[in-house]
Subunit: 433 residues, 3 copies
Amino acid sequence: MTERRHGRQFVRTFFTSPTAVEGEDDSAKMLRRAIQLRGMQAPDVWVPDNEDATAPSMRDEGARNIVEVVSEDGADFPGEIHPRVVWHRDSPSARYRGFQHMLEITDPEGGAVEHIDGFVIPEVGDIDDWKKADEFFTIVENEHGLEEGSLTMSVIIESGQAELAMESLRDEMGKPTNNLERLFLLVNGEVDYTKDMRAMTPTGSLPPWPELRHNTSRGASAAGLIAVDGPYDDIRNVEGYRTRMTENQAKGMIGIWSLTPGQVVEANTSPLPPKTGSWLLDVDGQRVELESEDGIEVYDGDYVSLDALGDDYELLVGSTTRTLTGEELHEELLKMTSYVPSMDDIVDSMEEFEAAKEAGRGAIAMERSTTLRIGQTEFDISTDRMWDEATYQAAMTPISLFQDVYENRPDQHEELEERYGADVVERAMQVGR
Amino acid sequence: MTERRHGRQFVRTFFTSPTAVEGEDDSAKMLRRAIQLRGMQAPDVWVPDNEDATAPSMRDEGARNIVEVVSEDGADFPGEIHPRVVWHRDSPSARYRGFQHMLEITDPEGGAVEHIDGFVIPEVGDIDDWKKADEFFTIVENEHGLEEGSLTMSVIIESGQAELAMESLRDEMGKPTNNLERLFLLVNGEVDYTKDMRAMTPTGSLPPWPELRHNTSRGASAAGLIAVDGPYDDIRNVEGYRTRMTENQAKGMIGIWSLTPGQVVEANTSPLPPKTGSWLLDVDGQRVELESEDGIEVYDGDYVSLDALGDDYELLVGSTTRTLTGEELHEELLKMTSYVPSMDDIVDSMEEFEAAKEAGRGAIAMERSTTLRIGQTEFDISTDRMWDEATYQAAMTPISLFQDVYENRPDQHEELEERYGADVVERAMQVGR
Amino acid sequence: MTERRHGRQFVRTFFTSPTAVEGEDDSAKMLRRAIQLRGMQAPDVWVPDNEDATAPSMRDEGARNIVEVVSEDGADFPGEIHPRVVWHRDSPSARYRGFQHMLEITDPEGGAVEHIDGFVIPEVGDIDDWKKADEFFTIVENEHGLEEGSLTMSVIIESGQAELAMESLRDEMGKPTNNLERLFLLVNGEVDYTKDMRAMTPTGSLPPWPELRHNTSRGASAAGLIAVDGPYDDIRNVEGYRTRMTENQAKGMIGIWSLTPGQVVEANTSPLPPKTGSWLLDVDGQRVELESEDGIEVYDGDYVSLDALGDDYELLVGSTTRTLTGEELHEELLKMTSYVPSMDDIVDSMEEFEAAKEAGRGAIAMERSTTLRIGQTEFDISTDRMWDEATYQAAMTPISLFQDVYENRPDQHEELEERYGADVVERAMQVGR
């Protein structure tokens, strides 16, 4: 795995706030509210957004608001702070304005810069455009006496050009005439990307863009960066947001944009293993979670039913009935079920494998068994899964994420311990080290 | 959005005709018929096809036929004219023959060249192969006293090499030793691509190649070109053709190959917003269009049913029944429905947003409401959607397309006005300017 | 189609064996067993695996075992032999150890090298990392007096870096300071790729990675290499393995890793055309194979039913009933059915097209007809498909594969003739040449 260079190895949440709201007594209201967020409501990366979330006429005031709010309360904010400034591959005036705002926000006299981790640059184009932004970071650092490369740069991928640029990062980072090692997040921006690609859907909803998400995740993997998906603007649709995150995680894109503190909680939680494990049953192509009653996993829908017939069983799936021996039924049910391990389960398995490795064994079988109840009929299933070094390493991803969170977010310790119990948290912090 | 360089910003239709048919009194019959097409039956780009559609032995005659037919009737043809010549990355003799045909077709003595917009080059390989073709264009232009770069070049992407070449267009266009700025269309050729990739399906049908379509669309976006999908050869399957186009549009690939005037009509129409809006209901994972009866949207299938129970409601979806309050039902139905806006709706919303922006507001709520009838039960739903600059810009894509069509295709004015009404057309031509 | 440079044009199977198993009387047991495989149980490429399948402490012994077993029995093994050695883009010590093992295995004194076709290098990174491995091959060849480039190099794609490296192969192969023309297989390694991408799924199953598979297949196509998918570790799930292979074939990825001789048989067979053709019916989005009874294709499920009503027909699909004329029904059934041609069918069609081409015709209609029985009702359907040069070329892929297999695997002749009959085999070997 390519080494990540900056403070965080993982970023779950990218939360934007308008920097200046017109018609309010205090135009910095939203910033002041956001900087007070703590625990699961506080994002890993907070983005005072001096671009799209703020009206163009309010952006100079927005830059001043950032300085004021961050200098006052930035020291106590538990996440990183990365303001977004204006930028556009096709507009030198937008680029120059963004540069001026960066200069202003990082002026040591303002007192904010010590709490600012970097900036987010939207609407980047090809790699030479990224270099223009990087050069402004370098000048800003030099002007204000900051260490070269100390401000990270995150970009929004919202054009085909930028999607292609991610392929050359590995070649370009480290060249003597840039400081692109400052790169931190690759963030999708699907709304503007859709515009740039001139894509349309009948209802005006966003296309799913699976290839873009793959390419952003791959770009991050190849260059030691962190991939973040764009905003999910159907704010009330919590289930949809969760589904999107599960999809993203299977692509290696663990972070996602959050538009509300409610979305932050969801996105901070989603990539962490569940507190309790659960069994799933394939029902007409969908995986349905079984209900656990006194250690028995219960399915009481109509699609699948099971009856004992003497020594045999009758299994109905959809409209197909089969008579099976106990052994055949066991095989069939293994195919139809799967298990979502809890944090405790994962830590257990890893500890067991570590002990086996210590004892000189390279692969061990992990057993998993339970009793299913389908309709009125109960049946025991049990399966072995071989664990070798590769299985162990793959299982490490959620644990590494947890460890990164635990180390960087003391404000979430209490909630994490409530969720998992102190014992599991402690063991999860030890495993794999 | 990267600027498009040539006459058309969008191309909906790419229609090929054989240049010489053996065994006919007039071997140019198909060309003569195609060049008479007008209105929705006439493509945006017409391709006299001196490659695969024409037998190898007939291609010299085909080149002469192009000259004859285009010199006679090209002035009145409403679309652009881009003959396809032979070319192959692996065959110098095919490349040389293609060059000779280009020289012949553009000879000013033939009188066709003033109506010829460019050429289509099939079977290109890596970028250096594209440059070989470009060089022949330059020589042709120089020999015939045409302006350098005045003939556009479109290519068929039908190899893995060419798919990769699209990633370097942005770097290569503008180099001093080529004229690749002449590039116009990137056209998929899935049949030969399938052969080049050595892909197979059990029935011999074409694989869907979603990644190729994404990459072609992205290549066009990054380099200011126009993406066109390959032929859909199940000509009688109009529904399948439409589904393919809707999928393509969600990828930003708005143009498609057409094999018949009937397909041209479909493909000219598909990316334009509908005349009337419609409501969709999610039925078992499919979006079903509701029937509109006196302003009520009616679902009369079996999968969903709704009954009033005093103040509450019983909603059956599939085999799951839930009892919901009116408010819960409203929330649920909002999730299950979506709206496909008409051209009129889109123009309305854009005008409303423009007025709000003028008045200094950056975001406004657009309301959409209707009455649903599910079984015997009626229920009113109403939803707000926030429009900001990004929403506005995204909604602009179908309108920009419409404006491009209207400006470049006077022969379609009548049909467009019949479709939308003169008032909507006029407002659509004003909005966003 | 880009020319393939090495002995095989196609590789169906990539079968790995541990090189040294601890705690056995004979640590080379697995190698000795594998090298005896013949016929459909023997892979096209056999990989004595001195990396992940073998414990780190056993790898020096593993290298010696390879020499011993291959020198003894390699001459009679029907497939190619490509040991996998250790390598890692992030570990110079792993790379050096891999180099030492290559030196040892190819030492002419050991007598194995004449049966060794190349090596498999895992965990490669960007293209410069591939060049490091290539350089070791060159040194090995030089030290042992082998022809430069005579050992092929296959790589495992298991990082985002390596996925991107495949895009530059065409540019890099042929440069004077490397011998990358030795490249042979591009093999996906989804377990480690998942780790490198830091992807997670709830149950710990592997993500499907469709984009990676596309990109590997495309990389192979562009550079004249052969694409192979990674291991499918749910060994008992034969149906799942087959589905994966069918998916892969539609992406042009014809080879797949096999973990057992049983999987080898499946994977050697899957890309070959079936012995007998079959009709499929679309049933609720799934294609169901019809049963053939005395030349009639029978559907006896519930989802579709058909009744004759005088001259008309009543067709029930799901919960929708329509009354159709005979002609309408014919059209409808053509849409709902498809045909999977047998090897015999494919050869027939190709011969017919070749004869037509000889007679000067460029396109001919191929008829396909049958009688369907749905419930109690029989109905004849018949359809024409146009075949032109492109159709012919596309149909050639499975035939080319068959011809490559037949030429390179005399040990499979008997099984192939049993499967297809000697006559079909003979005709399949003639067609297209």
